[in-house]
Symmetry: C2
Amino acid sequence: MNVTVADRSALMEQETRLNESPSAVPGTQRPGGRTAKVRRAVLDATEEALAAGGFHTLNMDQVAAAAGVGKTTVYRRWGSPVGLVTDLLRDMAEQSAPAADTGGLAGDLRANATLVRETLTDPRMGAVFRAVIAAAACDEECARALGGFYRARLAEWAPVAVRAEARGELPAGTDPLELLRAVSAPLYHRFALTHEELTAADAERAVTAALAAAAAGAYTA
Amino acid sequence: MNVTVADRSALMEQETRLNESPSAVPGTQRPGGRTAKVRRAVLDATEEALAAGGFHTLNMDQVAAAAGVGKTTVYRRWGSPVGLVTDLLRDMAEQSAPAADTGGLAGDLRANATLVRETLTDPRMGAVFRAVIAAAACDEECARALGGFYRARLAEWAPVAVRAEARGELPAGTDPLELLRAVSAPLYHRFALTHEELTAADAERAVTAALAAAAAGAYTA
């Protein structure tokens, strides 16, 4: 996967199949235009490749072929496999996954824990998450993108804590992000570190523990 | 880092610098003998390389050179960069890191959280841990070795919970491993996922939360 400057120059001579503008000035592309379509196709192909083989087998040429996009475009715009993962993470961060609103804190946190568990135990998404964690451990910019994705997800669920505090279910000043982190952290610990099974009982334990710690004021600033 | 069968055959013609037996029968090597010395040198060089450049730059030839061991030996015995990391993790799992015994549960858990934080924020060890987490995300056998390492560390600290339960500081039937996991999981969540700073306040919050959750019975089986 090492590509020299000479290789890149050669690749840049090739035509891209979707033939989009090679020197787009930011803001000159219509949303939903060719640039967006190329990005969508490449990121979908990247996710598919990560699901199938993980980060260490991610191959720029194969992604280009699967996306139906010229190699030139993929090398020029994303630069490297880690560049593809970084952009995939930025795209994932922008996608909305609204929080649950069950009317009670325990129900909302349970929905969050279930979502995390179902994502990580899903064969496709579990493989994608393993791959993006690996990529982030290899590259600082990718690490920032992974951090941005998780902070976006935690922030999206913050209203759960804000509503609970307004209902008197949480001590005043509870940090929503720390509460939500407490729910998912033990599940990710199993997934990424001890590589243990992730059961419904594990999800439930995470919720019970987070509720008890929050009630005791462990997450007040 | 791709080595073909032909490359390996050529490498195997070379002499190894430490000149150890190429066809050792298990059990015929003295503990502390040449085989153990070669393994020690190679694993030390592997750790050094991970600290310096991460998993994605780990190079078998460079490890062999740094260890003063022939390439033949390194390729034959460890096979691949991920094989080196897997054996390093097995070695790390065997090293003893005895738990604190401060006389109280809060003090012991605080010592654990401090140890985790100091390890992950240490420039050298932080880089090594990022690298082994990345390697484990790329290979199933390495993932098992990483899991074995973390389970060994959790088990080594289990007496902290057993003693606390005997002193009446924990509900009967508290799962020691889940209690210890609760302390380190939010710290690893910052380290490996959100890539946020890891402060003394974060370590203290993890301890406070784990104590409150344990007192409420969240970790009883």
